[in-house]
Amino acid sequence: QYVPPYTEECRSGMYPPRGPTFKGAVTWYTVDLDLPPSKRWTEVITDKKANLVSMIQAIKDLANSFVPSGKLIELVDRDLPLIVNTLPYPFNEEIKGIAQDSGVALGEVVLFNIFYEVFTV
């Protein structure tokens, strides 16, 4: 496991975060659980819509590199929305709200949210 320069001696004095390993602070948001589930993420998604769209696009590009015909994306956009109503409440409603707020296809937001299970494939 000792393969410098890819591994290094234990770092010290790295805190507070700064320098080349620190890419930025993280913004705080509030999600009000008293709101209807489909409305909870609106503030977050309004701010992060463009980043979400480009991340989904990166996954689509990856999928199309495996299946150039685009059939994989078609399957996601056509079939995954059928799964959303089988997901437990309130997550299904929150996912629908995110698709609504971001303009990203519902199937693609579902895929993003079940990616952990899918990725084990």
Partner: protein, 253 residues
Amino acid sequence: CTSLVAEDANGNLFHGRNLDFGLFMGWDSKNRSWIITETLKPLVVNVDFTRNNRTVFKSTNFAGYVGMLTGIRPHTFTLTMNERFSLDGGYIGILEWILGKRDGMWMSFLTRSVLENATSYEEAKNRLAQTKLLAPAYFILGGNQTGQGCVITRSRVLSLDIWELDRKQNRWYVLETNYDHWKDPFFLDDRRTPAMKCMNQTMQANISIKTIYDVLSTKPVLNKLTTYTTLMEVSKGRLESYIRDCPNPCMPW
């Protein structure tokens, strides 16, 4: 991913984690970075979940993802999850789900439900250990009293092991990457050894948010897949996160 729960000499509990994701999902040779990892970084947000205008729990999330990978129920418990690979994997759980057998829980919805509803470390531990899942996982859980820290190794159906802090054995921290703690990690992906070396070098007397950040900033614990680092201190209800970069030369994972 690397997650750890540590107890200092005064019984304070700290929880830290690097969220690494995007392996084999497109390599940008020009920038020597993983494509998905880089597109995830701008999506990192900290979220304060409230009810009746009071904090219920706090988390570090990817915007658009409603499940939980990293969170704190202030003054009660802290929770992170790391990916676990197994042939009996999530694709089997998804197939069962599609075929109508829906007695398991999607991993990130379970962690969200535990953070939102569990009111103690023991309750959280029981739910994480006993709920049937669609995919295997490691849950790393810290409590609010001395000795309350553990790594729960889960298959889809069973809790294979719960590895706890143990003062008598001088186990003042538990650390999990992505391999069962009773087995050696894959030799090409051993982030456990360097992380433990740095924890042992730090020693319990010096453990703190700062020194945990040092451990999580040491290559290859910090690598090209690392999107963010989160540090949590349950007694203060404190969660702080930082988006990371790993300057070259740096391990791809």
